[in-house]
Every structure is written in C-alpha cells, then in structure tokens.
C-alpha cells in the first residue's frame, strides 16, 4: 500500500472506529469461540468443575459412536428430501404467483403467512396435526379412506412427517424467487417465442439459467438451515421413536446439556461445521459451471 495522506489516514481510522463493534463482536462471538471450541473438544469438560485434557479422545469416540453416524445420516436424509422438494415447490409457487391476475397481492401475502410462524408454536401445531388419533392430517386422510398413519410414533414415518411439515413453509423462499423472476428481461422470452420456443423449453433455457444465482442462494441457505434443524425434533418427538429423528444439533444439545459432556459436544459442533463447509464447497464446485450471472460478473448472487 502506498503512503497515505493525512486526510486519508484520518478517514481510515474513522472507518475502523465505525466497524469496531463488529471487529470486537467477531473476535468475542465468532473467532474466539471457534478456537475455544477446538480447545474444549480436546478435554473432558463438565459444565461445572475442572476440565481434564484428553487429546483427541473425543474425536476418536465420535468416529466409533453409532449415534453420531445415525444423527448425521438422519440429518442428511432430511436435507436431501426437504431442500430439493422445497425448492421445486417454492419455484412452482413463485411462477404461479408471478402471473398478472387480479388479487395477486393478497395471494402473495397469504402464502407467506406460514413462514412467519416459527419456533415452539410451529412445532406444537404440527405435533397435534400429526397426532395419530385426533390429528387433522389423519382426519383428512380418513375422508379418502386411508387408515390412520402413526406419523410421529413409528420409525418409518417420522422423517416423512417432518419433511412434509417443512414444505408447509415454502412461501418464505417464494419472495426471493419472485424477485428473481421479475428480474428476467422480457425481451428474452419474446425472442425465444419468435424462434418458436415452447413454454417448456423457455422454462429450461431461459428461466432456469437466469434464475440460477437465486437457486444457488436458496440451495446453500436451505442446506445450512436444514442441518441446523432442532426445535421441531426436540418438541415433536424428542428424537424418537428409537432415535429415528435424532437430528445432529439435537445430539449436540443432548451431549452438552443432558449428558454434561461439553468436550464431546464441542467435538460434535466442529464436525457440524466441517460437514456444512464441505457441503457448501461441493455445491459451489458442482454448480460453478452451470450458474449464470447476467452481465458477466462472476461474483453475483452472493
């Protein structure tokens, strides 16, 4: 860097002063804890009392821990279904909501409503909806002559139930797709129509490529969010039946606050970080050739 003038240096110092809350916050609540987690993971660390250094024992235990692998598998299966299904449903809904018809503003608002509801109320609502005897879902299925499904009480049905539940909130992602759809220049569609492109080929050759940065954004955030699933499993099934809905973060929570093993829980959180990082890198690698940034920028989207 070339020598700065007095005024420039003054501006630089002022700039650093303005961003200093983030610098301190980053050190205290992101970087510091990440490093500290690495240290904790090398110890046997009860919540109260003194830690004992155990080296890589927690990581060795983790690799031979059935529940670690099981929770990783459950979370991965859930992600593999809920994220793509949510994206397809969200995009389809966005395209419907992008039509020019009367009352569209009201439709858009109402479809967004489920996404506003989160946390415990959401989990309790669906816990009751999936109730085998009295739940609304089995009640509706009964109208079609389908026998009551034990959604949350059998190992086979619990993940499908949670995946169905996640689809209820696709309206949240729709606003982002809508903005993306509206950013596609209409000339592209006009030109394609003149060339005789049908609706389907226009969808594949214009809509999808033009939306690819938005799709990538929703994919990455969807995967990260899906790996953080916790509240629903804790409240609706508490990881059951027979640990069939033991999501990864729920296992971290149990290790730390039920089994009092902070060291092991810290090792698990590092594993969570590593898994998510690897998945995000893989997603970027696989899609980099296919994501199209209008205007030739390679740094769009994010």
């Amino acid at each position: 860097m070339a020598k700065m003038g007095r005024l420039e240096r003054q501006r630089a110092i002022q700039g650093w002063l303005f961003v200093s809350p983030f610098v301190v916050g980053f050190l205290l609540f992101f970087a510091g804890p990440m490093l500290f987690a690495a240290f904790i993971s090398l110890n046997q660390w009860p919540v109260l009392g003194d830690p004992t250094f155990v080296g890589t024992l927690n990581f060795q235990n983790m690799l031979s821990d059935n529940l670690f692998w099981k929770s990783l598998k459950i979370t991965t299966i859930y992600t593999l279904f809920s994220v793509p299904l949510g994206m397809i449903a969200g995009l389809a809904l966005a395209m419907l909501l992008n039509q020019k018809i009367r009352g569209m503003a009201l439709f858009r608002t109402l479809y967004y409503v489920p996404a506003v509801i989160t946390g415990v109320a959401l989990a309790l609502l669906w816990w009751m909806m999936f109730n085998t005897e009295y739940g609304l879902i089995n009640g509706a299925l009964r109208l079609f002559g389908v026998d009551a499904i034990p959604w949350l009480t059998t190992t086979n049905w619990v993940l499908p139930a949670l995946i169905i539940m996640s689809l209820w909130q696709v309206g949240g992602g729709v606003v982002i797709y809508l903005a993306g759809l509206q950013g596609i220049p209409s000339e592209l569609y006009e030109a394609a129509s003149i060339d005789g492109a049908t609706g389907w080929s226009r969808f594949w050759h214009i809509t999808i490529p033009m939306l690819s940065p938005v799709l990538l954004f929703n994919l990455v955030l969807g995967v990260i969010g899906s790996f953080q699933s916790f509240t629903n499993a804790l409240i609706m099934t508490n990881g059951g039946p027979s640990q069939a809905s033991l999501f990864f973060v729920l296992y971290i929570y149990r290790s730390a606050w039920l089994y009092n093993q902070m060291g092991y829980a810290a090792a698990l959180s590092w594993a969570l970080f590593a898994v998510i990082l690897i998945m995000v890198i893989v997603i970027f690698r696989v899609t980099s050739a296919r994501v199209f940034y209008a205007g030739g920028s390679t740094r769009g989207g994010f």
Partner: protein, 312 residues
C-alpha cells in the same frame, strides 16, 4: 417488470398474447389473437383454481388452530370436525395464559428483546456505515467476514459461548442476549445497512463536510434520518427473531422466573397435554405479534428478505 411475458412460461400458450411480438406480421397476430385469448382466460382460471386450492391447504392448519382455541376438549376430538363450536369456549384464553404465567413470561421476553433489538440496530448501523462510506485497508476482507458469519450456523459457537458465559456466572441472566446484540453480531443487519448506505449520494456528505460537520454528525444527522426504512426493517426482523428465539433461552434461562414465552409454551406440552384448547389459545396469542408485524409492514419485511437474496 417482465411479468406479463413471464406468465406465459408456465402455461402452454404457443405465442405471447397481446400482440407484443412486434416482429411478427400483423396478419399472423390477428390469426392467433382469438386463440391466445381463449387460452389466456382458461389459463387464468386454472391459475385461480390452483392458487385457491393450495391456499386452502396452507391456511387449513391455522384455521384449525384458531377454531380449536375456542373449543371444549370434547369437541376438538370429535369427528367429523366442526369449524365453529356450538358454544364458543373463550375461557380457554385466560386459562392458557395463566398456565404460561403470561405476564412474567412476556416481561422476560420483552426485557430480552427490546435492549437487544436496540443494540442490533445501533451497532449494525455503525458497522454498515463504516463499510459503506470509508476506504481503509482490510475493509473488503472485513465485509467478507460479515457475509461468512451469516453462513455460520449458530450452533457451532454455542458450546464455547455457553462455557464462557457459564464461567462468568451469567447463565440465568439476560446478558448472553444483550452482550452479543450490542456488538453487531448480525451479519444480516450489517449487510442491510451497508447496502442502503452505499446508495446515498456522496454529494450530501461532501456538502456537510465542507460546512464543518464531523463524521459522527454526518452519520447521525444525514444518514440515519434517510435510512428510516432500513432501520424499520432491522428492528422488525430482530424483534421477530428475539420473540421466536428458542435455543438461546432454552440453554441460558433454566429457572422458571426467567423463562420466555416460547419456553413457557413448551412446558404446556409436558404438563398439560390432556387439554388442547388452552394450549391452542396460548399458541394463537404467541403467533399474533409476528403476524401483525408482517401484515402491517409487509413491504419492508419482503424487501428485507429479497434484498439479501438477490442484491450485490
């Protein structure tokens, strides 16, 4: 906006209607005109049917909850179900609120939310301003760090942060919420402020500087008054976040006297499972504030979501 053309991609209309294909000869347009119009109307009807049908499915659970919140136990479980109970049981509401110890839980929730929302707004506005309006070595790297924190799952730092607060004796206090809030720990909020401040013309700033205004004056008197929509967005989003927050209170607030609404709602399920009516009533009450915020500030809300998703 491209919507009039975009709409065609879902339908199977072979050519765009409304004669918008300027290049096609007038005769061809005329020949297709009646066909595309019929198709257009059919398509619109189909869209309405799908949208209304889908909406029924989407809103059904909420209608069910609202209806059950004024039903006696026997009627919630009756089949076939009724939408409006024969005798509405509004006493489910006071009952549900009492089980939640509503007054204290609400006070705790607000004691966490209000100072934290304020802290997020102030600290993130300062950082966003610094990133947007100053040039200094390391700025771009810092901005990438801000984006990286948005991607980092909070659970990754949860264990060490808890251990630190625990050793400081701050578990079962509200400090674990207040402290990070005042240190600009929301990448999302910083991003919103930064993007907005970037759009403000530098001439305003230059004029004020020539008049001898200090940097903080410029930030406070010129930039903040202009950024009311962003401030509102940040405040609303943060408030809804703290209102719905569950994991934080779950681990940091073990004693009943400090519990928030979300935690008290969870207790319902454990101790009160036999009677759904009061529980549904409590759920309705907890859902209402975020819903009201969404309905009344919809534009801000959706702009906020879209802004982070598409911009930059």
């Amino acid at each position: 906006m491209a919507s009039s053309e975009v709409q065609k991609q879902v339908g199977d209309a072979p050519l765009p209607g409304n004669g918008m294909t300027n290049a096609s000869p007038a005769t061809r347009t005329a020949a297709f005109f009646s066909d595309t119009r019929v198709l257009g109307i059919l398509q619109k009807i189909a869209v309405y049917i799908i949208l209304i049908g889908g909406l029924a499915v989407v809103l059904f659970p909420l209608a069910w909850m609202l209806s059950a919140s004024i039903k006696p136990k026997s009627e919630i479980f009756s089949y076939p179900m009724t939408w409006i109970p024969s005798t509405p049981l509004f006493s489910n509401y006071p009952k549900g609120l009492a089980v939640m110890q509503f007054g204290r839980a609400l006070t705790n929730t607000l004691l966490i939310a209000i100072p934290s929302v304020l802290g997020q707004a102030v600290s993130c506005a300062l950082v966003g301003y610094g990133l947007a309006r100053f040039r200094f070595p390391g700025r771009d790297a810092l901005f990438i760090l801000v984006l990286a924190t948005m991607m980092l799952p909070s659970q990754v730092t949860l264990i060490p942060t808890y251990v630190i607060f625990s050793r400081l004796g701050l578990v079962d206090t509200f400090w674990p919420f207040w402290l990070p809030a005042w240190l600009a720990t929301s990448g999302f909020n910083i991003f919103l402020f930064r993007q907005f401040f970037m759009t403000i013309s530098p001439e305003l700033e230059d004029a004020a500087r020539i008049d001898g205004a200090g940097v903080f004056d410029i930030f406070w008197r010129i930039f903040l008054p202009l950024s009311k929509p962003v401030i509102a967005t940040v405040v609303l989003f943060s408030f809804v976040f703290y209102w719905n927050d569950f994991f934080g209170p779950l681990i940091y607030l073990p004693s009943t006297q400090n519990k928030t609404l979300q935690l008290m709602l969870m207790n319902f399920q454990q101790f009160y499972t036999t009677d759904w009516g009061p529980m549904m009533a409590a759920m309705v009450v907890i859902i209402i504030p975020p819903l009201l915020i969404f309905f009344f500030a919809q534009r801000l809300f959706i702009q906020g979501v879209v802004f982070t998703g598409v911009k930059e």
